[in-house]
Each structure stands twice: as C-alpha cells, then as structure tokens.
C-alpha cells in the first residue's frame, strides 16, 4: 500500500469520525436558520472526499523514505523531551522545566559531540535566568511556579 493510500485512508477515517462527532452538536435559541453543525459538516465532508480522492487516484511511484532509521530514533527522543516539558512546567515551574529543556535539546542537537558536559550545563543557566527576568519583570508576565514547588515557597 502506497503512502498516499495510507494518508487517504487516515483522513477518510478522521472525516467520518468528525462527522459522527458533529451529530452531537446542537443549536440553541440564538442559532440562525443554519445551525452550528453546518460548518464542521462541510469540513468533514471535504475531508472525506479528499480521502476518497487520495485512495482512488493513480498512485505515483514511491519516493524515498521521509526519514532514515536513525532519523526516526532522533525524532523519537526529541518528541519524548517535548512531551515531558509541559508536565514539568506545570508541576516543577519555569526555571526547572526550562533548564531541563535547554540542557536536553542542546545535548540532542549536538550531533557531533563538540560540547563538554560543563558547557551543556552552563548554557541553560545563561538562558533561563535572563528569560525569567525578561518574562517576569520586564514584560510583567507571570510564569508557572509549579504545583509541587508552590507550597514550598509560601
């Protein structure tokens, strides 16, 4: 099965699921003649038609893989790092979470291993502190303190 056929099947499925979800959308006393279900139905319908189109059309020859095996491994590591970040931000706060994100990503991105551990630890400190000051004091934008940290600093 070609990649286009797989993509077509997936978006066809998404379109059908969304159309089913749209049946639960109901108007109210403020709705006009056309209710809030019209637009999502049109979008889902469009997605279904595109999915069918991708499934039925003449398939081109397969192009080279999107990523190599090593590439997928790298994406996996970075994805895990990024998924963890919001949780750390919520529970441990901006300073800890940003230090973590900066340290891990600079380590991952240093493919040729040119940076020593010391430099990889200094970099997050050099960025997190000014960023904190910039957001918190210059912009007066409160940053997450962290649900676990908050009771400790009160």
């Amino acid at each position: 099965m070609t990649k286009d056929r797989i993509s077509g099947a997936i978006i066809l499925l998404i379109g059908i699921i969304w159309m089913v979800l749209t049946t639960q959308v109901k108007g109210n006393a403020f709705s006009t003649v056309i209710g809030p279900e019209l637009f999502p139905n049109l979008a889902s319908g469009g997605l279904i038609l595109c999915g069918i189109g991708l499934l039925l059309r003449k398939q081109k020859g397969e192009s080279k893989p999107f990523l190599s095996r090593d590439g997928w491994k790298r994406v996996g590591k970075l994805s895990l790092t990024l998924v963890v970040y919001p949780f750390m931000l919520e529970y441990l706060g901006f300073i800890v979470a940003s230090f973590y994100l900066l340290f891990v990503t600079v380590t991952l991105f240093d493919l040729k291993r040119t940076l020593s551990l010391r430099r990889r630890l200094i970099f997050p400190v050099l960025i997190t502190a000014p960023a904190y000051i910039f957001f918190q004091y210059v912009l007066d934008l409160p940053l997450p303190v962290g649900e676990i940290i908050r009771p400790l600093i009160r």
Partner: protein
C-alpha cells in the same frame, strides 16, 4: 489652523516622539520573536496608557501595531518562522531567499515594501476614510465570505504540494478552527468536556506548534542542523538594485491597492491581503517558476499588501467601530477605555484625535524604516548562532509565549499536540500553510456563511445572485479546479 496646531503639538512633542520610537521598537521585538506578537505587546502596555492622555496613549499603541507587523517579517526571513499571521505568505519567498545566502536582500526588500505599504496607506486612509467607510458598509456577509474563501483557495492552489492534500489540510484547519464556542450562537463544539477548549485553540499554540515544533522535529530527524549562511561581502544600500526595484514598481502598486482595498473591508486582516497579492504577483510574473524559490517579486507583493492593510484596517475601526483583526479589536478597546466612541461621529466630534492617530501610524512607519535599515546588517548575525543553541532558546520563548496568552498551561500542551499533528502531516507531505490560514479564517467564514444564508429569503442563492460575491466564488472555484487539473 487650530486643528493643525493640535495635531503637531501632540505628535512632535518630545515625549510623544519617545513613545512612538519606544512603541515601534517594542512592537518589532515582539513581532520577531516566535510565540510573542504585537497584539500581546499592546495588551501589556494597555494599562500603562490609562495614565496618559488619549492622544498619547493611542499613539503608543498604534506604534506597537506597526512595529509588530514589521517584526513578524524579520523572523519569517531569517529563520523561516513567521512571527505573525500577516507574515505567513512572506515566509514562502523570504526564507528560501535566505537559504540561498540572500538574507540581507530579503530584509531589504521587506523593509522598503513595509514602509511603502504603511506610509502611503495611512496617508490615503487619513483623507478618504469618511468616503471609504460609506462604500465598505454596503458590502455584506456574502462578499466577505467570498473573499475569505478566495484567500484560502489561492493558498491551496499556490502550494507546490499536491492540491488535493492542500484541500485536506485546509479542511483540517477548518475543523480545528471550529473547536470551542460557535460564532453567532455560542454553541459548544468538540470540547470533550475540557473547559479550556471553550475558546478554541490559542493562536500562539497553533503557530508555535505547526511552524516551530514540527519544523524542528523534521530538521533534527533529517540531520539538517545548519542555518543558512549570509553573503559575506559588504552590503550597500538596501541589498537590492535599483533595477530590481524598478522591475517591481507595478507589482508594488498593485499589491498596495489590493492590501488597502481588503483592509477597508470590516473584519478582514493582513493575512488575507498578503496571499491574494502573492497569487496575483505570481500570475502576472514573467517568471512564475521562480516563485517558491526566493523570488523578490513575492516578497514585494506580500509585504506591501499586508502593510497597506494597516492603513486600510484603521478606517473601519475608526469610522465604523469594526475591527479588522485581533490587534485592531484591542485598539478599539483602548479607544473605548479612553472614553472615545469609534464610529461615524468620531471624525465629527474629535477630528484632532483621528488625525493624531493617523499621524502616529505614519511616524511609526518612518521609525520602522530606520530600525530595519540599520537592523538589516545586524539581524542576519542571528544566523551565525548555531542551530543547537538557537532553536532551544526559540522553543523556550515560544512555549512560554503560548503560556502567556491567557496565562494557561493548557496552551503549552496544545503546542505539543499541534507540533505532533504538523509533523505527521509533513510525513504525509500535506502542506501546513493552508491549514493555518483555514484555522485563522474559520470563524469568519462560518459567521459570514451563516449570516449570508439567514439574512435573505433566497438563502444560499444570494451568494450567487450578488455580482461581487459570485465573482469571488468563481475565482475561488477556478483556482482550485485549475490546481487539480494541473496535477493530473
């Protein structure tokens, strides 16, 4: 005479000039950092304006507005990440030009186009706003729907990728845009019991996720960790030749009036005008094959249009009390807080204020020109920072910029979700730009569609019986069909 004196006193007072300069710089900074934007800067400074007189307060805020639109272009050109929705179209040409070593040229073209668009549109708007408002209000939801639909269809047909996949991306964008309270009746849709989704996905989350996170995942996965180099020879003037400018004069004039015209229409924003003018520039170009590879015609078109929309958008804001986009909506709020009532009577009751506002926009455009001219040689130095240092910093600012919009950690989670969706779409070779534009325009499209159908007894037929609406729908349909047929 008294009016002129009042305007000059308010605009050329040293404190006022300082506010204009400071506001513009702040706007450029906010606009150029992914995750932040000019609207956020205006929100932050809004309480500060309460302490100022109305004229000074609005001059500060409009300076940030102008700076923010311009700043979005800088990150679009230098790192391929639009700092604002208005700069999405510009990224298509500016980023490939930077990748070929033409960062300074991209910045130079964008700077001049920005200035031409903002400066002259504000002058025209200043004198013609009462007349234009009279005509703009005669258009209805049918025409506005047609215009939004045309913008989305042009983006789809222009994308190098598969048109069918472009349509699918746009449909996904419409679906994402319909999450939350529906327009008109406020019916709750697709929130799955999550209260934070009542207001839909935050723009900061979607921009950061789809543009920044997904591209970082792809670049890292492919091992493309080198930023473009900048041409080392010393740059004279604006980075492009007089000949290149002369070759684009008609392009600039046409794009200017497209942006101005779209800006005059209540509810339309810079994103639409940029794409419409880009499509027109490509159609009219002698070398359309160069588009998508760093064609300066494209940059002249998009930046002139999205900045001429500024002057245009202020007209319905002032004369009708209808905002053109999020930023003008906030500016309207600022006017109301100062005790002013936007609408047809503002020009009559307080003409001095209106002229000070336009004057502030004009002066801000001059300040932006200066900042960007001197910045042209400095900003590209950012490309000498290694990928491994630059993008982690961008991610921290972007994530927390998304948090700052609504002080919500949920926005940060959504950045990750949008990044994942964007990455998966890229694996399937689906273009992202139609998705983003469709997401931004979804509420407008739905509002105009539902109003258009319910306003007359003819219902949906009215879209086809009003000439301008019909013409726009034909253009939209034709561009999609042409794109589909080209690929078969």
């Amino acid at each position: 005479m008294e009016l002129l004196q009042f305007v000059f006193e308010n605009l050329f007072d040293p404190f006022s000039l300082l506010l204009i300069f400071g506001g513009t710089v702040l706007g450029v900074i906010f606009g150029s950092i992914p995750g932040l934007n000019g609207a956020l800067a205006i929100i932050l400074l809004l309480p500060f304006t309460f302490m100022l007189e109305a004229e000074l307060g609005i001059v500060l805020l409009v300076s940030i507005y102008v700076g923010g639109i311009s700043g979005g272009f800088i990150s679009a050109a230098l790192i391929g990440i639009p700092g604002a929705p208005a700069a999405i179209a510009t990224t298509i040409e500016a980023w490939p030009l930077t990748q070929k070593g033409g960062a300074v040229k991209a910045l130079g073209v964008g700077t001049i186009a920005t200035f031409i668009g903002t400066f002259f549109s504000c002058i025209i708007a200043m004198f013609l706003s009462p007349i234009i408002a009279t005509y703009a209000v005669k258009l209805g939801p049918w025409e506005f729907f047609g215009l939004c639909l045309t913008a989305v269809s042009l983006v789809i047909s222009l994308s190098k990728a598969d048109v069918l996949k472009g349509i699918a991306s746009a449909c996904i964008g419409f679906i994402i845009g319909s999450i939350g309270f529906a327009p008109i009746d406020g019916a709750r849709r697709f929130t799955f019991g999550i209260s934070q989704l009542n207001t839909g996905l935050a723009l900061g989350s979607t921009m950061m996720g789809f543009f920044v996170l997904s591209s970082v995942l792809i670049d890292y996965g492919k091992g493309n960790m080198t930023l473009p180099s900048v041409a080392k020879q010393s740059i004279k003037g604006w980075g492009f030749t007089l000949r290149e400018f002369k070759d684009n004069v008609w392009n600039i004039i046409r794009s200017f009036f497209i942006g101005l015209g779209i800006g005059f229409l209540p509810g339309m924003g810079s994103g639409i005008s940029a794409f419409v003018s880009y499509a027109k520039a490509k159609d009219s170009s002698k070398h359309p094959e160069e588009f998508g590879n760093g064609a300066i015609e494209g940059i002249f078109a998009t930046e002139t249009a999205n900045n001429s929309t500024i002057g245009g958008a202020v007209v319905p804001m002032i004369a009708l009390g209808i905002p053109g986009d999020t930023t003008t909506a906030i500016l309207l709020g600022a006017l109301t807080i100062q005790g002013l009532e936007p609408g047809p009577l503002l020009m009559v009751n307080d003409p001095g204020f209106v002229y000070v506002l336009f004057g502030g926009l004009i002066l801000a455009s001059i300040v932006t020109l200066g900042i960007q001219y001197f910045g042209m040689r400095l900003f590209p130095k950012i490309l000498s920072i290694k990928f491994m240092f630059l993008f982690p910093v961008i991610m921290v600012f972007g994530f927390n910029g998304a948090f700052a919009q609504g002080n919500s950690i949920f926005n940060v989670y959504m950045v990750v979700v949008c990044g994942a969706i964007g990455f998966l779409l890229s694996v399937g070779r689906f273009p992202i730009t139609p998705l983003i534009l469709a997401y931004i325009l979804a509420p407008l499209l739905e509002t105009y569609l539902r109003r258009g159908i319910s306003y007359t007894e003819q219902g949906a037929l009215t879209f086809f019986t009003r000439p301008i609406s019909l013409a726009l729908i034909i253009i939209a349909t034709f561009s999609i069909i042409r794109g589909l047929l080209k690929k078969t």
